[in-house]
């Protein structure tokens, strides 16, 4: 055996040991993207099938007029859960799951930068999703429709279902945001050397845009959920008209989330199309920059569409006009990408395949849904079809064409990557045609039943309205569609059980997820390649051979640690060798503890909720303490090809700093939702604050602000002092900052408290209190972080050189200070100027 081969074998043994997947029952403690991504995908797909069964129950009930298969109450639960599960437990999670699974290999990274965060997100998703879905087996499922409009859900539904929806789904939204942070940092900081931003796979561009959208779309809904739950649990009247609230505030907050949500689930599916089309056209995608335009443009414009769900709420015509204009504008970027796909197929040498069959079907169905979308974007047309089956038809054409069919195509395409085996071509074609034909038979007639006046969400209808035959056709179509899925499942089971191992790069694709061998060892990538093309497997001649002999970066794991590269955001120059943590059970308990807060609160078991929250918090702290900002045994190491990189980086150079920054942007979006509530009430009321209200005055809030800004400045000072080696200064400044923060939080609450503002009396008092509570909650978190830094410094885990923790905490405090300034300016300043 030659020396070269010995070296190579030694490297592979060390890599395999460092990245080994745990065996036996410990398998479930894995945090690596290949395991967590796979579980995530499977669970999201199981929820999809569950919601599909609910849909079949609805179609069975509606097959004939005056049917009594399902009671009205059960039907309400079924349609609410169908919509909510499809949107929150399938639409968003499936893309995050898929991306966690394939993104690292697409970027030739060994893992995403925060594997334990992915694991925490997955276990949270599993717990929350099971809780929400399980409620229907106890007759306790939500039944207010997937958008939960008050006053239906505040005054007429006092059972637990609404709380299950609000709290269960809020918990899952947190998991979604965690995954979004992970994906953004992964795409910006973990690309292979050479992959400048103009070389990124289009899939990564789309996911970057979508993750950013999640960051700004989900938080307003979380803010809305908070207001809603405060009203239901503590009688704070945000949506109660009698006491100055307004149900329209919920509609605004819901749809500021709800419309971008449609694009949040559509763009990743189109990203799959943009990944598959070049492979089967055997050429680079036409119009790379145009696709970037489409992704970024849609990302922005989709936030200007929310009122088109509220055309019939009586807003002034001019407001409807603005939203109608934006709704037409969004068709431009959406259309551009479809033309790019068509052009690529036309100029390439298209190869027929099952994934391409699904892609073609997807484009046909989606274009149809897009066209009815432009119709309903026009307010006068929408007045006619609002809340009718026409809308049901439109949204299913968009979502099935824009999400379900591309995902099915994507599963066919990536099956060899995940399971090392190829799905059957013949069964794939059978399942496609059943799904495609069944879908059109089920949903096309709904356009007509809608135009004939059939309202959505009715559990039955009398015969003779001209709806009977159309509904029967829809139900037959739904059965055929289900048969298509059955064939698809049979294919999966058959392939996993009896299929043979696929050859390497079975589709002859050009992107890097197909570089590894099949099956791929647990290390993910053998060595991190140097990238010089958008399609390296097509253009870089020796890449496979060099990869196989470990000829690029990080071919070894000399210290037995899990390592991947961190590179520059724009030009992907190597910056750091990042060590990522391995298997753990801490994330499971942390997820269960957090889940307990939401689940126990549903039943108003407050002490249990608090206890559960403390357990969750304790385990999060243990996870941070043992697994993050670890001081390496040496400052830097040789990563191959003559490059030496540091093993530790803090401040804007560290991935943790980026994660904190991005998370806090999302936090600011939620806070904006609450502040929006205050100014929304101001615009709709003659007097806001109401006549005779004194609180909270300006003295206490201004005092609070002064104390809090001092706390912020001292936190910043502590960071700078630590960096300069003034340990004593650090140990004086940070405890002082904590004391000032406590005093500031108390002063902030003192304003409304001493002026006797009662949050249950009117919407003004409730809004002031919710801003104070929100700010103080952030101060409490800030205090905990300051204490954490003091403890880390005391035991030598935070030093002048190794100072990630205090950098991230100071960054957090910048945002906490902004929160305090805006809160005080709103509750104390605005009544003075108004």
């Amino acid at each position: 055996m030659s020396t070269d081969e010995e070296i190579r074998r030694g490297q592979e043994e060390r890599l395999a040991a460092a990245w080994a997947t745990p065996k036996g029952w410990r398998y479930w403690s894995a945090v690596n993207n290949s395991e967590v991504g796979l579980w995530y995908t499977i669970v999201a797909f199981v929820f999809f099938l569950f919601a599909g069964v609910l849909a079949l129950m609805m179609r069975a009930q509606l097959a004939v007029p005056d049917n009594d298969l399902l009671s009205a109450d059960l039907y309400n639960q079924v349609f609410t859960l169908h919509g909510s599960v499809m949107m929150f437990l399938f639409g968003v999670p499936i893309f995050e799951a898929f991306s966690i699974l394939i993104m690292p290999q697409m970027l030739a990274a060994r893992d995403l930068p925060f594997p334990r965060l992915s694991a925490y997100g997955f276990w949270s998703f599993l717990i929350g999703g099971t809780f929400v879905c399980g409620s229907i087996f106890f007759g306790a499922a939500p039944k207010g429709g997937w958008f939960m409009y008050p006053p239906l859900t505040t005054e007429y539904q006092d059972d637990i279902g609404v709380d299950v929806w609000l709290l269960g789904l809020s918990f899952i939204e947190l998991a979604s945001i965690a995954a979004a942070v992970e994906l953004i940092v992964g795409i910006l900081k973990c690309r292979p050397p050479g992959m400048r931003i103009n070389m990124m796979p289009l899939y990564a561009w789309y996911i970057l845009v979508v993750a950013a959208m999640i960051l700004f779309a989900f938080p307003p809904l979380i803010a809305g959920d908070l207001l809603f739950e405060m009203e239901r649990a503590f009688d704070w009247p945000f949506f109660d008209v009698e006491r100055g609230g307004d149900p329209l505030l919920w509609q605004h907050l819901f749809w500021i989330f709800g419309h971008p949500e449609v694009y949040i689930i559509f763009l990743p599916a189109i990203a799959l199309v943009a990944t598959m089309v070049p492979t089967f056209a055997r050429r680079p995608l036409v119009g790379y920059s145009w696709i970037v335009l489409a992704a970024v443009g849609t990302g922005f414009i989709s936030f200007g569409l929310w009122v088109h769900h509220m055309y019939t709420t009586g807003l002034p015509a001019i407001s409807l006009g603005f939203f109608s204009g934006a709704s037409v504008a969004v068709a431009i970027p959406t259309g551009v990408q479809i033309f790019c796909f068509i052009a690529t197929v036309l100029v390439g040498r298209a190869v027929a395949s099952v994934p391409m069959l699904f892609v073609s079907g997807a484009l046909a169905v989606f274009v149809m849904g897009g066209l009815t979308g432009v119709m309903v974007a026009l307010a006068p047309f929408d007045f006619q079809v609002h809340d009718s089956y026409f809308i049901v038809a439109h949204l299913h054409y968009v979502l099935v064409g824009g999400v379900v069919l591309p995902v099915l195509g994507g599963i066919h395409y990536f099956f060899p990557f995940v399971a090392s085996k190829k799905l059957s071509d013949s069964l794939g074609r059978v399942s496609f045609w059943l799904v495609f034909a069944g879908f059109n038979l089920a949903f096309f007639p709904m356009h007509i039943s809608g135009l004939r006046g059939m309202p959505r969400r009715v559990f039955t209808y009398p015969e003779g309205y001209g709806w009977d035959v159309l509904n029967l056709l829809s139900s037959i179509g739904a059965l055929i569609l289900a048969a298509g899925f059955l064939v698809f499942l049979v294919d999966i089971v058959k392939t996993v059980a009896f299929g043979s191992i696929s050859e390497r790069n079975p589709w002859q694709a050009g992107t890097m997820e197909w570089l590894p061998t099949i099956p791929n060892p647990a290390w993910g990538v053998r060595t991190v390649p140097l990238v010089e093309s958008r399609y390296p497997l097509w253009d870089q001649k020796d890449i496979v051979a060099t990869y196989d002999r470990g000829g690029f970066f990080l071919p070894d794991a000399e210290e037995g640690k899990r390592e991947t590269l961190v590179t520059g955001t724009i030009d992907a120059e190597p910056l750091q060798c990042l060590r990522v943590p391995g298997p753990t059970w801490l994330t499971h308990v942390a997820a269960a503890g957090t889940g307990g807060v939401f689940i126990f609160s549903t039943f108003h078991w407050w002490w249990m909720a608090i206890a559960s929250g403390l357990v969750g918090l304790g385990f999060v702290l243990a996870w941070l303490w043992t697994g993050t900002a670890t001081i390496p045994e040496k400052p830097e190491k040789d990563v191959g090809l003559g490059v030496t990189l540091p093993l530790y980086a803090s401040g804007p150079k560290s991935v943790g700093w980026w994660a904190m920054f991005i998370t806090m942007l999302g936090d600011m979006a939620a806070f904006s939702g609450l502040v929006f509530g205050y100014y929304f009430f101001w615009t709709i009321h003659e007097n806001f604050p109401p006549e005779g209200t004194v609180g909270p005055g300006w003295r206490w809030p201004v005092l609070a602000l002064a104390l809090l800004l001092a706390a912020w400045a001292l936190t910043l000072a502590a960071r700078i002092l630590n960096g300069r080696g003034h340990r004593t200064g650090f140990f004086v400044a940070l405890p002082l900052a904590m004391a000032l923060a406590v005093a500031g939080a108390l002063a902030l609450a003192a304003g409304p408290w001493f002026t006797g503002l009662d949050p249950t009396v009117n919407s003004y008092a409730a809004t002031v209190w919710v801003l104070v509570v929100w700010t103080n909650f952030h101060l409490a978190a800030g205090l905990l972080m300051q204490g954490y830094c003091i403890a880390r410094a005391a035991v030598g885990k935070l030093t002048p050189t190794y100072d990630i923790d205090i950098h991230n905490v100071a960054l957090y405090w910048h945002f906490a200070a902004v929160t305090a300034v805006v809160t005080v300016a709103t509750i104390a300043g605005f009544p003075l100027v108004d």
Partner: protein, 138 residues
Amino acid sequence: MEDRADIFGRRTPRRLRADLGSLFLIAAAPTIWAAHFLLCYVTAAIWCARIAGRDGSLDGARLLVAAYTAAALAGIAVIARSGWRRHTYGGQATVPHARATAEDRYRFLGFATLLLATLSFVATLLVAMPALFVETCR
């Protein structure tokens, strides 16, 4: 800062040095679109709810919308010009800007900026158009 060789041993001219600003530039025009959109919406909402009343005239608000639109379009045009300059850097405006060089990365970000500015320009006009036709708060 002196020129520094990149990972392929090529030197990057100072002007092309990577900075986050060039990434944020592609989002500048859509951000102007968003600001214009929000201003139009908030102005009309406050005008109709607190100033003119539900049956009142929109005239003042329409003038404001016109002013916002003129300012937004001018801002977007400036960004488009900057995008065009970057796109044609070195006299080579040849898409797809797919080479692994700092020059092509610079040109690509310029082209993406230009495309997004064009979209934002059209979208701003589409959003402003209702103010041409709607005369009252009804």
